[in-house]
Amino acid sequence: MDINIFTVFILAVFVGVEIITKVPPTLHTPLMSGSNAISGIAIVGAIISTKVGGELGTWLGFVAVILATVNVVGGFMVTDRMLKMFKKK
């Protein structure tokens, strides 16, 4: 493994830590939900793993794609619904 990949990780952690300072309580849930959708980035891995040689790997990848997609699509949509409601009020 390249050292830079590690550097990248560390810096990303710092960005993650610094990025959030104050969040009004009303936004706690939407923010959680939104970043949950982002954690659906696993879909990228899922897509890649469908190419993994064996059958088993491919099928696992397939299931992972479905689940990750649920996470991504559902996550962003639910977040948007929450925030819409928020606006109305």
């Binding site: 990949i5 990248v8 990780f9 990303a12 952690v13 710092f14 960005v15 993650g16 830590v17 990025i19 959030i20 104050k22 009004p24 309580p25 936004l27 849930t29 923010l31 959680m32 939900s33 939104g34 970043s35 949950n36 982002i38 954690s39 659906g40 980035i41 696993a42 879909i43 891995g45 899922a46 897509i47 890649i48 793993s49 469908t50 190419k51 993994v52 064996g54 088993l56 790997g57 491919t58 990848g61 397939f62 299931v63 992972a64 794609v65 479905i66 689940l67 990750a68 997609t69 649920v70 996470n71 991504v72 699509v73 559902g74 996550g75 962003f76 977040t79 948007d80 925030l83 928020f86």
Partner: protein, 458 residues
């Protein structure tokens, strides 16, 4: 030299960063969510384009199925059930990471190095834990499982044992990757620990747990990124992992608990304080001013009930400042003046007039008592006897028969006093133990000043 897909991955990471940042401000939140989803789209397209050997058909089917399921639930879920929905989605994300790592383990594209094996174990462990934990959270919120904390003797010890076992098994796997059974054992143990860490936590604390699990699923994604040597996964996973942890911390602080308290379970039990009185023990909930501020934030109609304690604290100016701030934010604020509040006739009038509180905001008992029913928050400041419901129903009470302010009829009653001591009449007040009652202890002036600060910081 510089390949396009890497640049696009970095771009999507940047969009995630911007998205999360905007999500944490009310005005920009919706656009933040949109930007983050755009980042996701870019990441997916980049992956599809740059990995020519993937099974496109299968992926298309998977994405369609996933999208339909995700969209269906996202649209149909009721507002009140959103937290559990998020929990489920999060669980899916976590298990997806675990599956990818498993796929890589079971069908490695190239011989696995120790480092990869270690990260695979981590992915599987965290991903599975997230999955089962999220489902317990979902169950608790949805009512499938009791919302009460499930605690038993030696629970923490058991969790520790399982955790250590997983560590041991992971080391084993790294050293001897052929032991598939060990691998399955890791999965099973991770699933169990996910449950074990979640069940002792009460329903009220679930949002914090979900946030924590969300952070975990980020970690899972990031470690999967190490397995696949993919920057997009590493950065985004690290982002979500780190920011999720911070958010969890903020949420904990909002509830005046430490993160450790949540992680290591057995929280969520309501604080029980000895009333110090002879007869009855009442269970009270003690809140911080931050929490109180949040309750005010959600309220529309607020009735302030001043008592002798407000005069003792000389908090008349402080209460005006708070009330003015709330009114400026579009809330209705009234003052309910009990005829014998304080220690002399008209004590509260003298006090509030000094702070220049307009006469038309002051309501006497007759005018105000049926206002409590559609009142969101009754803020009781250093009053005690004049809001004691025993006066209405407990004929043995020395204050039985005195007309009181019916604060208990409002949605939430926030009571500020310094201690659990009694008032002038020397009787304990059962109101403090009511379900809709919340105590905020402290000198009225100091408490109001803190409250104002917290209200402004929301």
């Amino acid at each position: 030299m510089i390949n396009l897909d890497s640049i696009l991955y970095v771009l999507s990471s940047i969009l995630f960063i911007i998205g999360i940042k905007r999500l944490s401000h009310p005005k920009t939140a919706r656009s933040g969510n949109f930007i983050a989803s755009l980042g996701m789209l870019i990441a997916i397209i980049t992956t599809l384009v740059s990995n020519s050997t993937v099974n496109l058909e299968l992926i298309a089917i998977g994405i369609i199925i996933g999208s339909v399921i995700g969209a269906f639930f996202a649209i149909r879920v009721e507002m009140t059930q959103m937290p559990q929905m998020v929990a489920i989605f999060n669980g899916f994300g976590g298990i997806a990471s675990a599956l990818i790592a498993a796929a890589e383990f079971l069908n490695p594209s190239e011989p696995l190095l120790s480092f990869s094996l270690a990260t695979i174990s981590l992915s599987v462990f965290v991903g599975t834990l997230t999955f089962t934990g999220s489902f317990i959270a979902f169950g608790k919120l949805q009512g499938f499982i009791s919302g009460q904390p499930i605690v038993f003797f030696g629970q923490q010890f058991l969790n520790a044992i399982i955790g250590i076992s997983i560590l041991g098994l992971s080391i084993y796997i790294v050293l001897d990757p052929e032991q598939i059974n060990i691998f399955y054992l890791i999965i099973a143990a991770s699933a169990i620990i996910g449950i074990g860490l979640t069940i002792p936590i009460g329903g009220a604390d679930m949002p914090v747990v979900i946030s924590l699990l969300n952070s975990y699923s980020g970690i899972a994604a990031s470690s999967t990124g190490f397995v696949l040597n993919n920057n997009a996964l590493i950065i985004s996973g690290a982002l979500v992992g780190a920011s999720g942890l911070i958010l969890t911390n903020i949420m904990c602080k909002g509830m005046n608990r430490s993160l450790a308290n949540v992680i290591f379970g057995a929280v969520g039990l309501e604080q029980t304080t000895d009333s110090g009185s002879e007869t009855k023990q009442i269970n009270i909930k003690s809140y911080s001013t931050e929490e109180a501020a949040m309750i005010f934030d959600a309220a529309e109609k607020i009735i302030v009930v001043p008592g002798y304690g407000l005069a003792v604290a000389q908090a008349q100016h402080a209460v005006r400042e708070v009330a003015e701030f709330l009114a400026k934010n579009g809330k209705t604020v009234l003052y309910a003046i009990h005829p014998v509040a304080g220690r002399m006739p008209g004590h509260m009038n003298v006090l509030l007039a000094e702070a220049n509180i307009p006469y038309d905001q002051l309501k006497d008992l007759d005018e105000v008592n049926n206002e409590f029913e559609d009142c969101d928050v009754a803020l009781v400041l250093g009053a005690n006897d004049v809001v004691n419901p025993a006066a209405r129903h407990d004929s043995s009470s020395p204050i039985y028969g005195m007309p009181i302010l019916d604060v208990d009829k409002s949605r939430t009653v926030i009571i500020n006093k310094r201690t659990m001591n009694t008032g002038f009449a020397g009787v304990q007040n059962e109101l403090f133990g009511y379900d809709n009652s919340i105590m905020v202890f402290g000198d009225a002036k100091e408490m109001l000043q803190k409250l104002l600060k917290d209200l402004k910081e929301l």
